[in-house]
Amino acid sequence: MDVFLQQLINGLTLGSIYGLIAIGYTMVFGIIGMVNFAHGDVFMVSSFIALIAFLILTAWLGISSVALALLIVLVLAMALTALWGWAIERVAYRPLRGSFRLAPLISAIGVSIFLSNFVQVTQGARNKSTPPMLEGGIALMQSEGYTVFLSYKQVLIMTVTAVLLTGFWYLVQRTPFGRAQRACEQDRKMAALLGIDVDRTISLTFVLGAALAAVAGVLYLLYYGVVSFSDGFVPGVKAFTAAVLGGIGSLPGAVLGGLIIGLIEVFWSAYFSIEYKDVAAFSILAIVLIFMPSGILGRAEVEKV
């Protein structure tokens, strides 16, 4: 029971990070029907931005308050990563709009390779680590020498995810921008006929997706304290899996999928073998897709017209 509870906490934490990245996949897919394979690497870049910003703030500027430093790091990482997201769409995807379907996909893989290599060249191939921050936590239960521990980091990660999901859901469902975005998803030409600047809406979608990936990147760095140039790939694929599992195009689905993947991974590692955790996660994906082809919260494609 104690082990179970501890793994539940760990799984939800990991799942939250996957969920935040998955929102970026799902939004971009929703609006232009493209899998942005570079999204995982955007997440990795944001981790590096956070790392560098944190080191500058603490070592050079001598800011001693961890909370303040984290806040500044978060804002900086979101802003700079959003800029990356905007630039990638502008340079690598927009010129290919209207081209054959595979073209932007190939371009996305190219961007992905570029980003990981760019970071490898400029930052080196070795793991980079931060000094430990935000240590400590709450001991929830103690029995037979085993302590169920909820760290402050985990509380922070889950809270931030919950708040952002609520905020995003509100943005998409209730604001004019969200409405314009959904309109572009459903009928781009009609949206333009109503005066919606479709290109701008797509740009903003990339910017928002990248900003969320940046939050995930900061939290990832905070949680593990280490990042390397190749860290975009696996979390990226996992988050993409989460988006598909939850129903691609669905915002709550992305987070739900993220949580499920995180939980499976953590529980499998705890009770079976850590080597096969990815096999377990992807097997569940395959099984779910056999019975629910559009994902857990995805909508069926059949529609009355």
């Binding site: 409405r179 333009a192 006929l193 109503l194 005066g195 479709v198 009355k304 017209v305």
Partner: protein
């Protein structure tokens, strides 16, 4: 002379006056292509402020292409589209919409996974919520059916209701020029009558300029001040609604034996 005859005279005079000043919309020698296939070949057409102008023609004549060319999607390859004195031929679609043109397009194109209310909000996007409540009331008064269904998902409504929504959505932007592409397509005769009445009211009471594409030639010509006939991407005839209705060629091609007479009888 009968009252109806005087009405026709009044309308013709009004139409001539409108055409004498600079037209609100002027299409000059426009050709549009899909790939290498010409859909429009040198079309000339004018819509004056305060007019109802209709464009009739068979399936595939290029009517909807002309409607979309006005909005730059696709753009005309040659010729020009001038709206209120401004050349809009090369403007992006959304910029054209912001100038005060609105379209209820072919196939209605309501947003299927949005509620009726949200679709109408989309129509009002350009005004950012100003005078939304009043405009919503006006559209609901015009199409009471929509008022009952504000929270329903547009994709689940019947064709007639979707048509009303498409027109209502276009009206929400308070257009100076309203383009309607086959508003009567696939609708029951009673619904058609309701929609044509609504169009007439918009023109008479609100002074809205309307450019109407129709297969239902009889109704459209009766309603319009002036009309054009489009055949294979070319304008072959133009005149007042009455002149075209009485023209033997128009009669035989678009009225007699066609659904126009059947629906109008």
């Amino acid at each position: 002379m009968s009252v109806a005859g005087i009405n026709v005279l009044v309308e013709e005079t009004r139409a001539r006056q409108a055409a004498a000043t600079a037209p609100l919309l002027a299409i000059r020698d426009v050709s549009t292509y899909y790939g290498s296939v010409a859909a429009l070949r040198g079309v000339d057409l004018e819509v004056g402020e305060g007019e109802i102008v209709t464009l009739i023609g068979a399936n595939g004549a290029g009517k909807s292409t002309l409607m979309m060319t006005i909005f730059g999607a696709p753009q005309a390859r040659t010729g020009s589209v001038v709206y209120a004195g401004q050349d809009i031929t090369r403007l992006p679609t959304h910029a054209i919409a912001r100038l005060g043109l609105a379209q209820s397009p072919e196939g209605r194109r309501v947003f299927p996974r949005m509620s009726v209310f949200e679709n109408l909000q989309m129509g009002a996007s350009l005004h950012g919520g100003r005078h939304f409540a009043g405009d919503l009331e006006r559209v609901c008064a015009l199409f009471p059916r929509l008022k009952e269904r504000l929270q329903q998902r547009a994709g689940t409504m019947s064709g007639g209701e979707q048509q009303m929504l498409a027109i209502g959505r276009a009206l929400m932007s308070r257009p100076r020029l309203l383009l309607l592409d086959e508003p009567s397509l696939g609708l029951a005769p009673l619904v058609v009558k309701g929609i044509f009445d609504a169009i007439r009211d918009l023109n008479r009471q609100d002074g809205m300029t309307i450019f109407l594409v129709e297969q239902n030639a009889y109704h459209a010509l009766k309603l319009a001040h002036r009309g054009y006939v489009l055949v294979n991407g070319r304008v072959t005839m133009s005149g007042t609604g009455r002149q075209l209705l009485d023209d033997p060629a128009v009669k035989s091609a678009y009225l007699e034996g066609g659904h126009g007479v059947a629906a109008g009888a």
